[in-house]
């Protein structure tokens, strides 16, 4: 039970090998909650400014500036405000939030406390994906400890600041990771993302001003508070500071977690850290940031893993879930698995997403079966184009992009299927 600790660690994960780090005592022994103490002595405005200066970008996938997001919260003191911690981690290829919840639940709580003080929130809802039973238990234990120790509750760490934390478990729906789908789910509804406006900072959880941040995003915050924004900017690139915990999966010798600075070249992650492809095979393609992100071919692994560089290659960092596929891999099969996932998980509100995800999957399957025609390839791209940028949430884009990526770099795989009327990759992973 529980994940193997990262093979490469940095400030987030350096103590993960220590089981006690998940307990209050162990966490405090390593300096835990000192940053929160310090934050409570700092004004919310200065804290937000600090986080802005640090350049911290959300680690939930969209990469939005955390400090800026916090500054959207109204300060007129009218309504109760809430913080929401997004622990729905369901992006295929991602398992970094899980290790943080399992190994450092108090770090998550400390980041939350600092964010709560900065945004003036009275309560945080932590939404943990339903399948994460063990991580949720670890987190619940930490919350109980924190209440008992006066770290949560009416007088946070002896101050006059009051803060409560509620853990809610999801029930199996990827779309509840999208922040407004999450809010709907939190309110006991289907996790169907909300149309915007209004935005969560005005009308969030239970209609109150709210800010949603990812688990890992919160975890960086105590380190920024303790060490300053300059220190934080010492990791990563100028535009993408800090580390992240990359999850590497697929055809590599050593799949697992690696905490590395943003901007680390993809090839370093794949070949040095994850030790390359087993069985003497070569890489065919790598999905760099969770399944929603377009794939890169072997020729482009030099790319530094930061959005400013990845965007030039028409992909994104996403959640840092690196999926490696070796030379045997049939990219049409990969397309089948990917489009099935999005078909299965679409919430079904928007026409383009509900109908488009199904259509993409059906075409993929037909091509894989050898029943594809040349114009199917264009239809795939056309349908993906029709889904992009048109819907309530970014799910439809997330469903379209990987298809566009596959067609951009592996169109021959599709053409071969059509030409040979069968799958030309007998050694590929099974479907």
């Amino acid at each position: 039970m529980g994940l193997t600790v990262p093979y490469v660690t940095s400030y987030l994960s350096e103590h993960f090998a220590d089981d006690a780090y998940a307990t209050l005592d162990g966490y405090r022994a390593r300096g835990g909650y000192e940053a929160a103490q310090q934050a409570l002595r700092t004004s919310p405005e200065d804290l937000i400014e600090l986080v802005k200066e640090s350049g911290l970008q959300g680690r939930g996938g969209a990469g939005f500036s955390t400090g800026l997001k916090w500054s959207f919260m109204p300060t007129d003191g009218g309504k109760p405000k809430y913080l929401v911690c997004n622990a729905d981690e369901s992006e295929p290829g991602s398992f970094k939030d899980r290790i943080l919840l399992e190994r450092a639940p108090h770090k998550v709580l400390e980041g939350i406390l600092i964010g709560a003080w900065a945004t003036g929130s009275e309560k945080t809802f932590i939404y943990v994906r339903g399948e994460y039973a063990f991580p949720a238990r670890q987190l619940q234990r930490a919350v109980d400890e924190a209440y008992a120790a006066g770290i949560l509750g009416a007088k946070v760490l002896g101050s006059d600041f009051a803060h409560d934390v509620v853990i809610m478990r999801g029930a199996g729906a990827y779309i509840c990771g999208e922040e407004t789908g999450l809010l709907e789910s939190l309110e006991g509804r289907k996790g169907q993302p909300r149309k915007k406006p209004p935005f969560p900072a005005q009308y969030g959880a239970f209609g109150m001003p709210s800010t949603v941040n990812n688990v890992e995003t919160f975890c960086h915050v105590p380190h920024i508070v303790a060490n300053g924004s300059e220190w934080f900017r010492g990791f990563g690139t100028e535009k993408s500071p800090g580390t992240t915990i990359f999850g590497v999966s697929g055809h590599v010798v050593r799949p697992g977690l690696y905490e590395l600075p943003l901007g680390t070249p993809l090839e370093e992650i794949v070949f040095e850290h994850a030790q390359g492809v087993p069985n003497g095979r070569t890489v065919k393609g790598v999905i760099p940031g969770g399944m929603s992100m377009p794939i890169l071919p072997a020729s482009q692994l030099d790319v530094p893993m930061a959005n400013e560089h990845l965007r030039e290659r028409k992909t994104m960092l996403g959640t840092g879930g690196v999926m490696v596929m070796d030379e045997t891999t049939c990219m049409v099969r990969a397309g089948c698995v990917i489009t099935y996932f999005f078909r299965d998980e679409s919430c079904g509100q928007c026409t383009q997403c509900r109908e488009g995800t199904g259509w993409l999957h059906k075409i993929m399957e037909r091509i894989e079966r050898g029943a594809g025609t040349p114009d199917d390839l264009d239809i795939l791209l056309d349908v993906a184009g029709k889904m992009e940028g048109q819907t309530i949430c970014a799910f439809a884009d997330a469903a379209a992009w990987p298809v566009q990526g596959l067609m951009r770099h592996f169109r021959e795989d599709f053409e071969e299927h059509v030409r040979q009327r069968k799958c030309p990759f007998p050694e590929s992973f099974e479907l």
Binding site: A171, G188, M208, H251, V337, F429
Partner: protein, 155 residues
């Protein structure tokens, strides 16, 4: 009344955590499913009463989430992750072996009601593939023989 007093009390405690009653609907559905193994239409009607909702609204929620079921299932729920990282590492082969071992297809329950087998999307264990989940417990880095033994060990 199909929902027990204990579960009702636990639901009321959950309700106390949220600014609006309805916030506790998912926790309540988890509790009811824990008690009965599934959420029957009768339970949905009672939950609708507790949450001041229409039964159809409760049903919509039950149907939306993969983890809620509106009919009885096997005593043990075995879910094999078949998403891409797991598939790259043999999850589909594992699934096929388990299907023939149990004599059922994914989505079915063994005749003795012991095991329901299903496929599942990524469970956040991609580096430890193939893997499966039995109830709330993850089993990772499996080969087919280990997986079969695991299933054989289920009551």
């Amino acid at each position: 009344m199909v929902i027990s007093e204990d579960t009702r009390a636990a639901i009321e405690r959950e309700i106390g955590k949220y600014p609006q009653r309805r916030g506790a609907l998912l926790p309540a559905l988890h509790l009811v499913q824990q008690e009965h193994g599934f959420v029957s239409p009768d339970s949905m009607r009672e939950l609708a009463g507790i949450f001041e909702l229409l039964p159809v609204e409760v049903m919509e929620v039950v149907h939306f989430y993969n983890m809620f079921h509106d009919r009885p299932r096997g005593r043990h729920q075995v879910h094999v992750c078949t998403n891409l990282p797991c598939s790259l590492r043999g999850a589909r082969g594992l699934m096929r072996q388990l299907e023939s071992h149990l004599g059922i297809h994914a989505g079915e329950t063994t005749a003795d009601g012991r095991i329901s087998l299903g496929h599942e999307e990524c469970l956040g264990a991609c580096a430890y593939a193939p893997m499966l989940r039995i109830g709330e417990t993850y089993h990772e880095n499996l080969d087919a023989e280990q997986a079969k033994r695991l299933l054989d060990g289920l009551e």
